[in-house]
Symmetry: C2
Subunit: 195 residues, 2 copies
């Protein structure tokens, strides 16, 4: 009983990745079996290997796609004139982007240790690249005298941790809208960098 109507590679492939994304985020990579993913897709376990080389590649694909989208989205983001404008743009962008895909964010932060050395290096490089974007803004702000920072690398790590932290507590339909949250976090970021 194969090849039901509408069951093509272009349909099943994305469904496999979507199921893996949700299950990995919920239970963790190591705790999720290929059979669980298959059941979620409505297929036998063996069929998954038409869409992924192995379980490790499935995880890596999800993480690399997420990081690629993150960098591409930030590249497309308008950044304003001053360094302070750019910092505000970054803060709001980071919160918005991360709140839009909590599962991918969760995986990207929690499953690094389940990557092979090679795959880990690739993801780590992309993360560094993203951190570098913020550091460049802070450096520009420092040089222009708009910001008062004693350590750019440290400040960038602190800001990213603070912003990403929103994902741990924000719930849709809660007390605050996304915009309200972004407003308040921007206030805090601005205060933290002495501007």
């Amino acid at each position: 009983m194969a090849r039901k109507t509408g069951s093509h590679s272009e349909i099943t492939g994305p469904r496999v990745r979507a199921a893996a994304l949700t299950l990995f985020a919920q239970h963790g990579f190591a705790a999720v079996s290929m059979r669980q993913i298959a059941r979620e897709v409505g297929v036998q376990a063996g069929a998954l290997y038409l869409y992924t080389k192995d379980k490790q590649s499935l995880l890596f694909d999800l993480m690399r796609t997420h990081m690629d989208e993150l960098l591409a989205a930030w590249a497309d983001e308008p950044k304003g004139q001053s360094a302070l404008d750019a910092l505000q743009a970054f803060s709001r962008f980071h919160i918005r982007f991360h709140l839009e895909r909590p599962e991918a964010v969760f995986i990207a932060y929690m499953e690094l240790r389940n990557l092979t050395d090679e795959n880990f290096a690739a993801i780590e490089a992309l993360r560094r690249q993203y951190e570098g974007e913020l550091e460049a803004i802070l450096r520009a702000g420092q040089d222009a005298g708009e910001l008062d920072l004693s350590d750019i690398r440290l400040s960038s790590m602190a800001i990213i941790a603070m912003l990403t932290g929103v994902n741990t507590w924000y719930r849709e339909g809660g007390r605050l809208s996304r915009e309200a949250v972004a407003d308040r976090y921007w206030d805090m970021v601005r205060g933290a960098v002495g501007a």
Copy 2:
């Protein structure tokens, strides 16, 4: 070949927990087998069950112990006079305490989803209690007019995320001492709360 010299319950028990702590932090709860833990301790897998009911209890014990120690240590911490003093005390304490036990911190943040519902509720309650400590400080500062906050719960989550983030990048023997890091983070926290 049992009961080698010095192999008593009081020795092996802690060694089991220490091995589990290190291995869980390194590879994740689900990816570590009881046999791996046993090998690290120098014992057969069956012997572990003299010291823990099952694998789940081993994880729960580590997390509850960590949270208990966190709350007890903060209770013992001198907090100064003003709310601003207390906020500074909290910031420095949080960084110091967390940098002293990176493995336990890692587990406490990453393995929540591997707890049973009941165990999760217990740990979550302790975490809420700790967050409540910071919220109380912020509220006091707000009431005394020392701080300028638009949302206490949000500010407390932002501060904790920022402070805990130190664990993700700080390396012993690096560019900055723990004290220097704590100094700079306190500056940022102070700025973030508008003081």
